[in-house]
């Protein structure tokens, strides 16, 4: 497959501030039991230097979206349609969705322009290689430096992410480090080649609260210094409120609402977003209110509901409409859009014959 190069002056992409623009991405898993539509029409866009938070319940396709961007979706997963437009450092825009996932071009992007840190710092480092060998590997792959220079750079990266005695720790193995230190090491590896975009897939979920805060601060500081953009995946709305510029709320493999952080927290439109916000514990409430929880559970991936995927759990369910019409993306303002029939005019939403297929 040949990647399609789109010049900057393409009228559709005049906004040079946009670093990543994912359009209607669909990534499906073709398992023996059937097709799992893990990601089924996600849109998101991220400007240079900004932080975009992707939130949603477990299993809604956040990690698969992230892996799709780097083209490291595990078998039997495949991107079936959509675009992942990314603006390279040299100004050229490319569609990552069309690249050969084993090719040289995507490998230059991985680690060089887009880096990723994972949910499990315990297992994302090799058990039999030193931290240093893994950082230096990233450096030597992407930067024209000698081994000695790579080693020096690796030490300064460990220093940068706050690992004590960095030149000693370079020769440490992952099992010699605590979870927090391992995640710092992962961050050091990810940032070693100064990527334009850091994808952080729930980087603090597996860590204790204090360490979580430290890691968040670290990512924020590094972002301010380097000007990289961050795609931050989490299901912790507290974290979102703290770090996000923009927010995308995902449900069953698609974006149900997206907007800037103020719009999402103070003017949420989608019933799912509101329900998520209501389920945050509040310290200021006097009475011992029971925590709100969304009724029902996330449906089985093989049993996607017709119409709006959220309708079986929705309090504002409109009979006859929500279970038959697949809601389109409706722009409420320049930066706020929602997929919900409560907000889109009837004529905007032509009923679909077969919403399942």
């Amino acid at each position: 497959m040949q990647p399609t190069h789109t010049r900057l002056d393409d009228p559709a992409k005049t906004d040079s501030q946009t670093l990543l623009d994912v359009k209607d991405l669909k990534t499906h898993f073709f398992t023996d039991e059937g097709v799992v539509k893990a990601v089924d029409g996600v849109n998101l866009s991220l400007k240079r230097g900004e932080t975009l938070c992707v939130v949603g319940e477990s299993g809604c396709g956040k990690s698969v979206t992230a892996r799709s961007i780097l083209r490291i979706v595990p078998n039997p997963g495949q991107i079936v349609s959509g675009e992942i437009n990314f603006q390279q450092r040299d100004g050229e825009a490319i569609d990552l969705a069309r690249m050969n996932p084993k090719g040289r071009e995507i490998r230059k992007i991985r680690g060089g322009e887009i880096s990723m840190i994972f949910q499990e710092p315990m297992s994302s480092l090799s058990p039999v290689h030193t931290i240093g060998s893994q950082i230096m590997e990233a450096i030597l792959l992407h930067l024209p430096v000698s081994r000695q220079e790579a080693r020096k750079r690796a030490v300064s990266m460990l220093d940068l992410v706050g690992i004590p005695r960095p030149s000693e720790q370079l020769d440490a193995y992952s099992f010699e480090l605590s979870g927090g230190m391992r995640q710092r090491a992962m961050i050091a590896i990810a940032l070693a080649c100064e990527p334009q975009l850091l994808i952080a897939d729930e980087p603090t979920t597996a860590l204790d609260v204090t360490t979580q805060a430290n890691i968040l601060d670290l990512i924020r500081d590094l972002q301010q210094d380097s000007g990289m953009a961050v795609l931050f995946i989490t299901h912790d709305l507290g974290v979102v409120a703290e770090i996000a510029d923009e927010v995308v709320v995902m449900y069953l493999g698609r974006d149900v609402e997206s907007g800037d952080v103020d719009a999402i927290f103070h003017d949420a439109k989608h019933p799912y977003t509101r329900a998520l916000l209501q389920s945050i514990p509040r310290y200021d409430s006097r009475e011992n209110r029971r925590l709100y929880s969304i009724k029902g559970t996330v449906p089985h991936p093989f049993a996607r509901p017709h119409g709006c995927p959220f309708h079986p759990r929705c309090d504002d369910f409109i009979a006859e409409r929500c279970n038959s019409i697949d809601p389109p993306r409706h722009k409420l303002s320049q930066s706020h859009s929602v997929r919900c029939l409560l907000y889109s005019a009837a004529d905007e939403a032509p009923p679909k014959e077969d919403a399942l297929s």
Partner: protein, 325 residues
């Protein structure tokens, strides 16, 4: 690392002591002593002075710990393993060449197993559920299922019928009792491949399964994705990370290959007429040739212990997680 090795070698000493005691107990278990059976079997009357000399030499009238002491100190200081009454030779004259051949065959078999099984296991894991994987799997199970001695007979027939090679044994007839020379070594090499293939087949089949399973486990680990996300190419990635980790458990195979080949393959060795320790041990046990049996058990145990030590050191060397545990 050095400290680890030293510690392991120190631990070795009590183990060897216990093993030698067990081997000696095996010698002593049957009723009577070997001189009694020697005398009872002998056609003519045995010279009483000679019998007394032997009694004195092995301390047969003394308490068992004295006998043990005489036996073990003879081995350690003079390399005297006692006498085989069946062969009427010193045990040490009987065992060294066979032991040497056994070690050579064992090591070659191990090398054969690794060289064949590791690449096939890797292929089979990377190409999971493809035709190639299925073919390898089926052949592997056949290799596991066929008894070695049957395979030996079939291969001997083929080698003899179609290649006209003198089969069985490790040497052509003219070299069996010859002194070591270049020609004898070459003759050995031209014979040794057959037992190596036969003895290695089941191990190869098993190791393919182990390698495949290990690698499949590792391939789905997050550190592999993380390395891929760094921009490493698929081939480099495969060998630097998951294959490297999947190989670790295989090193422990060094430990079991000696006892398996020395004792477990006795039947195959008899079928193939190999001058290794397996058939010798088998016969010595049948005929209650106890100094020979005890010495073989002792030496095989020592080899096994050394094999374990080597595999542990290798494992500690390639897997940094070991030493700290």
């Amino acid at each position: 690392m050095l400290w680890y090795i030293v510690r392991r070698i120190v631990y070795l000493i009590p183990t060897l002591l216990i093993v030698s005691i067990i081997a000696f107990v095996v010698i002593q278990l049957p009723p009577g002593d070997f001189l009694a059976s020697l005398i009872s079997k002998a056609e003519e009357t045995v010279d009483q002075a000679q019998v007394d000399a032997l009694r004195e030499r092995y301390g047969l009238d003394e308490p068992i710990y004295v006998q043990y002491w005489k036996w073990i100190s003879g081995i350690v200081t003079k390399g005297d393993f006692g006498r085989s009454f069946e062969w009427d030779k010193d045990v040490s004259d009987l065992i060294w060449e066979r032991l040497g051949l056994t070690v050579v065959i064992s090591l070659l078999t191990l090398a054969f197993i690794w060289i064949v099984a590791i690449p096939i296991g890797i292929y089979s894991a990377v190409k999971k559920y493809t035709i190639g994987d299925y073919v390898v799997t089926v052949i592997g199970f056949i290799g596991l299922a066929i008894p070695n001695f049957l395979l030996a007979l079939v291969l001997m027939y083929i080698a003899f019928r179609y290649f006209g090679q003198s089969v069985g044994g490790l040497f052509s007839p003219e070299y069996i009792v010859a002194d070591w020379s270049i020609d004898r070594v070459l003759d050995l090499l031209s014979h040794i491949w057959l037992p190596v293939v036969i003895l290695g087949t089941a191990g190869t089949a098993a190791l393919i399964r182990v390698m495949r399973a290990n690698l499949l486990d590792e391939l789905s680990k997050l550190y592999v994705d993380a390395a891929r996300a760094r921009g490493l190419s698929e081939l480099k990635l495969l060998f630097k990370y998951p294959v490297r980790v999947a190989l670790n458990p295989l090193v422990s195979a060094v430990a079991w290959v000696f006892p398996a080949l020395v004792s477990g393959s006795a039947i195959t060795s008899i079928v193939l007429n190999l001058q290794t320790t397996g058939p010798l041990l088998y016969r010595s046990l049948q005929s209650q040739d106890m100094y020979l049996a005890g010495s073989l058990i002792l030496l095989v145990s020592v080899l096994t212990i050394i094999g374990t030590l080597v595999s542990d050191i290798l494992l500690a060397w390639i897997d940094p997680r070991i030493q700290l545990q």
